[in-house]
Amino acid sequence: MNLLNKFMNMDRRWIYLITAICVIIPFLIPIGLPTYTTPPARNIYEKIDNTSDGQVVLLSFDYDAAVLPELYPMTITILNHCFNRNIKVILMSLYMQGIGIAQVALEDVKREFPEKKEGIDYTLLPYVPGGALVILGIGEDIHKTFPTDYYGTLIDSLPMMREIRNFDQISLAISFSGGGVSRTWVTYANQRYGANVAAGVTAVMAAENYPYLQTKQLIGMLGGLKGAAEYENLVEKNLKLKTRKAACIGMDAQSAVHIMMIVFIVLANIAYFAGRRRKK
């Protein structure tokens, strides 16, 4: 009983320490807790997997550094998947900071695919202000909206861009965002131009996108680290790829902290009731 009492009045710094340990351990020793694959994640995977060689997927990095930990792993694993399946990729961003993130992501993934060439296998588009207007621009003519790529090369001179005029030639557009940008993509790219749109969002924002999944305006969705972990597992299982599964590690840490909190709350309540019974 005394032990329970001590537990209840434990210094909060012990809780901080245990929380920290729960986050750090999965980094050092990946546990690899199983994940259940949700249909929205599987849908994106299958859409990309069924895209034939040489077709194009567009990835829009509509986020900034603030939500990087939650969204970066999913962008990496999707990029990986595309390159692995020989799909061409257009990278862009509606946010100024997003271009920098896209560039880093490219460098990260290219380490495993050194043969992928700028302008042939992928194109990094520069930041163009305008938000929704940029999406409309792509719907009309991508060459007019982005006369050059990020490095200043004329888009018309890039082999992979020659045949791409608008969403008709883009088999899937995925927007990664921490806010409501995915909704903008649905409104403009899907509703107006009938493009296939999918979203990668933070865990908090995921619930807001369910209506669009129901109406099929979003083909699929990845929600936070969990969505990314599901995707990593799909890639690993089906393509037998061995890469660092950042999201799975993050998800292990998430699970560990969640379980720790649940256990602590339950124990605290047991201690509380035990203490109360004794008083009676």
């Binding site: 809780i15 369910y210 902290v257 379980i259 649940i262 602590f264 605290a268």
Partner: protein, 210 residues
């Protein structure tokens, strides 16, 4: 005059903006944009009193050598150095200014934000006790949602044939309470705004009466 004038301006400003709400004409739209522009311009000089205030607090501390006056020097140095770097070498991409932002300001802010990860654990541990029926409900729902958000919990929920329980809680009862609170807040905002316009609520003038 010291009170009556501003109160009149407040009332007129409010009425004009309410009328503007109903007019879609370009004239009205441009007017709205202009008002927003004015509000922004108007707010810029206010920064002067803000900076004056914090400088005054810390200058007094340094002058009187109050406890921790050394830290006050840091504030002055940081403001001057960062602002000068920004003004002299620009604020573009890859500038020193942006480096400072990325590796110092952003880093510290992100770390402050991440303290919440710890604080949520300690706050939940301390106060999630089933003392009353209401507290018990809060506790149970929090546990269910937390459990349902991680893979282990999710697979358990699926076996229980309740795959969308968490979504359901968020979508209906949670939304209901948010709406109920929101309706009350909406009324509160409207009533308070009205009272400000009419000068019934004049706390912003400093105190009542006179």
């Amino acid at each position: 005059m010291r009170r009556a004038g501003p109160l009149k301006l407040c009332l007129i400003g409010g009425i004009v903006m309410i009328i503007q709400f109903f007019i879609p004409h370009r004239f009205s739209k441009n007017f709205f944009d202009e008002v927003v522009h004015w509000l922004i311009v108007c707010g810029v000089p206010a920064l002067v009193i803000g900076y004056y205030s914090i400088f005054h607090v810390h200058w007094t501390k340094i002058r009187r050598k109050r406890e921790g006056w050394g830290y006050s020097i840091i504030i002055f140095v940081a403001v001057i150095v960062v602002a000068l770097i920004g003004f002299i070498w620009g604020v573009g991409e890859n500038s020193v200014f942006m480096k400072i932002y990325q590796y110092m300001t952003m880093t510290m802010q992100a770390t402050m934000f991440s303290l919440l990860g710890f604080y949520m654990a300690s706050a939940a541990f301390r106060s999630f006790k089933a003392r009353t029926p209401e507290a018990t409900l809060l506790l149970i729902v929090a546990l269910v949602v937390m459990f349902g958000r991680v893979p282990i919990g999710e697979s358990v929920f699926i076996k229980l044939k309740l795959p969308n329980l968490v979504e359901w809680i968020l979508m209906y009862p949670n939304m209901a309470a948010q709406r109920g609170i929101g309706l009350g807040v909406g009324l509160g905002i409207m009533a308070t705004s009205l009272k400000i316009m009419l000068g019934i609520e004049r706390g912003w003038l400093g105190g009542a009466g006179k």
